[in-house]
């Protein structure tokens, strides 16, 4: 019987298999950041163990870093200590680090692909659940906890029980104005936050094939919000085109050998998935969340749901609690919800195409009075490229704040956060209670919806906006292709 993409990559990394034991899986790339690593390095020190493969390990500072005043020391002493601890650990154990202010610094899941370190068929782990992002390249990539971080540092392997597989097939073409973010929010709403639990999801179908690498990363990034262990997309010409010429991509004869292997990384026709769902792309529209988990989302054209409409008592209770926390009334059209803050950024939507989409909507327009808009590039390289393209000028002219790279308000570990009761439209990945600051209320949206929302002050799509001043900009925020 044929094998799925996930099974092929998994099988190629089994170091040891024994009856009644988990497989020992080799890890090709280990990404490290300041929050989930200090206790792991401490564990190595206590046991007198080295990092087995510093040459397969890379570190960056992202979760805590401020997005202003990079040249000053971090004001929060606890954040500063955590960042300094990472610097000492990387220096002591010989791990390459991209520190705050460095040209190569950025969100861990943005810099891996940017450097060409993430390649098809690899295994990639990080002490961060959004490691699933790297699956966009046909890599098997998943988040781990600190004990496992220590395990990978010490052994370059992980004991694993082979996950089940699930196919999410998106047939047809996405309608104009509907993006990768809308697609994945719709998938999560359909299967729920536990729908992918124990599975590696493979995204397939015409609409997935048509996505750019950046769109694919957005989709795979949020696999974890559906409970999946990982998300994957089979590598193709789009993938190879993105990788070619990147600093760590193979070149010359090695490139040809690599492409030959990568081309074999697709699900065989006779392979069987443990679970399958099919979605019609043509039915998708801009999608936003109304609740406090990423599965609580609806098309923008709909209204806040009535908890009484849920047959399942658990879903009903969860909806009741979410409406209370979010300060929403059932039946309110989603387009009537006013926001205080718009956040553009994160490992979900902090890449160059996302910033282009935002600038495309903001051009010739202004952020509504009383609305604060933060635009935080995913990496210093993304920031530089955006500035070369003049996107920063458009974004600043509209009245939004153009910041330095980092995780920022996605999880509010740095100074960027919501005040209690404040409401945001956010291109990030989690609308959990307090995620963007204690008492903060989050609506997850695409970059295009974020920008349109900033202009009107209420949840909106670009097509809701009138003509932009000076005729520039436009109502179609379709992402430019290849980068």
């Amino acid at each position: 019987m044929g094998r799925t993409l996930a099974e092929k990559v998994y099988d190629a990394h089994v170091v040891r298999r024994a009856e009644g034991e988990p497989d020992l899986l080799y890890i090709d790339l280990h990404l490290v950041h300041e929050v989930t690593s200090p206790q792991a390095f401490d564990g190595l020190r206590m046991a007198g163990r080295p990092v087995r493969r510093p040459d397969l390990t890379i570190a960056t500072e992202d979760h805590n870093v401020p997005t202003t005043d990079l040249l000053k020391p971090i004001a929060d002493p606890v954040s500063r200590t955590q960042v300094e601890t990472l610097r000492k650990n990387c220096s002591d154990f010989g791990v390459r680090l991209y520190p705050m202010g460095d040209d190569g610094q950025g969100i861990v899941h943005v810099i891996g692909p940017q450097l060409g370190l993430t390649q098809p068929g690899m295994t990639v782990v990080c002490g961060d659940s959004h490691t699933s992002t790297h699956g966009a390249f046909g890599a098997l990539a998943f988040g781990i906890g600190t004990s496992e971080v220590e395990h990978v540092l010490a052994t370059q392997t992980l004991p694993q029980i082979k996950p089940r597989t699930m196919a999410v097939t998106v047939d047809g073409a996405l309608p104009e104005g509907v993006t990768a973010k809308d697609l994945i929010l719709a998938v999560i709403a359909r299967i729920g936050t536990g729908g992918g639990q124990g599975h590696i999801v493979e995204y397939r179908g015409e609409a997935i094939r048509a996505l750019s690498m950046e769109g694919r990363m957005t989709v795979c990034n949020m696999s974890i919000e559906a409970g999946a262990r990982a998300g994957m997309i089979a590598p193709d010409e789009t993938t190879f085109e993105y990788l070619k010429g990147r600093p760590h991509a193979p070149s010359g004869a090695e490139w040809d050998r690599a492409v030959e292997y990568w081309t074999s990384l697709r699900t065989d026709d006779d392979a069987v998935f443990d679970k399958e769902i099919v979605i019609d792309a043509a039915e998708l529209t801009p999608f936003v969340t109304w609740g406090t988990n990423p599965g609580q989302g609806l098309p923008l054209g709909e209204a806040v749901p009535d908890p009484a409409s849920y047959a399942d008592p658990v879903a009903r209770q969860s909806a009741e609690r979410a409406l209370e926390y979010m300060g929403l009334t059932a039946g309110t059209p989603l387009r009537d919800i006013a926001v205080d803050t718009v956040f553009v950024g994160s490992c979900t939507n902090g890449r160059i195409e996302d910033l282009r989409a935002v600038a495309g909507v903001l051009a010739g327009r202004k952020v509504a009075g009383g609305v604060r808009m933060l635009v935080v590039p995913g990496s210093m390289k993304v920031k530089k490229q955006a500035e070369e393209e003049g996107l920063d000028a458009v974004i600043s002219a509209a009245g939004a704040e153009w910041r330095e790279a980092g995780c920022s308000m996605c999880l509010a570990m740095n100074p960027d956060k919501l005040a209690p009761g404040e409401r945001s439209a956010s291109t990030s990945n989690r609308n959990f209670e307090g995620r963007q600051g204690p008492g903060g209320r989050t609506h997850l949206v695409s970059p295009a919806v974020a920008a349109a929302t900033a202009v009107t002050g209420r949840l909106a799509a670009p097509q809701d906006l009138g003509e932009a001043a000076g005729g520039s900009g436009g109502s179609s925020p379709q992402n430019d292709a290849d980068l």
Partner: protein, 195 residues
Amino acid sequence: MEAFTTYTGRGVPLRRSNVDTDQIIPAVWLKQVSRTGFDKGLFSAWREDPEFVLNQPRHEGAGILVAGPDFGTGSSREHAVWALQQYGFRVVIAPRFGDIFRNNSTKMGLLPVVLTAEQVADLQDAVERDADLEITVDLERREVRWGTETAAFEIDDYTRWRLLEGLDDIGLTLRHGEAIAAFERDRQDWLPVTL
């Protein structure tokens, strides 16, 4: 890792679904670089509400958290496990767990027990009726017992053995150093290195 064989104690009903790890330990607590001191951060936002179940004196000292489905979803932060353990929990019972949380728990010796939604609801009802109800979680026999009820749960043999013995994975894996080295010799030479 602390070994786990059998635990007998009292339970706390947490009647919420989708308890993500941001709720278990909000991000502000993740800035510490040590492994201790996380008990204060456990459910710190929810604990501001005096009515929250962990604030009820009758549940003080309970070692078993009985929660709704999809417990521990979201962020991979192992701090969530440390916070639960340092607060005094030895077991979390729920109908379904987030994968990473479940993994992290078994690495640390916090036992995640999956029971059916009905069994969890029955146990929550029972604990609400009698906060002093004695609950036994028996890893050797893979069952949870309370009153006249016995509920079997599944856990793979290997994880169970590791928990019963209190073994940590790194030591076990390092026994296979030769297999790892052999695998490394055969890796494709185009694969990227960071240094």
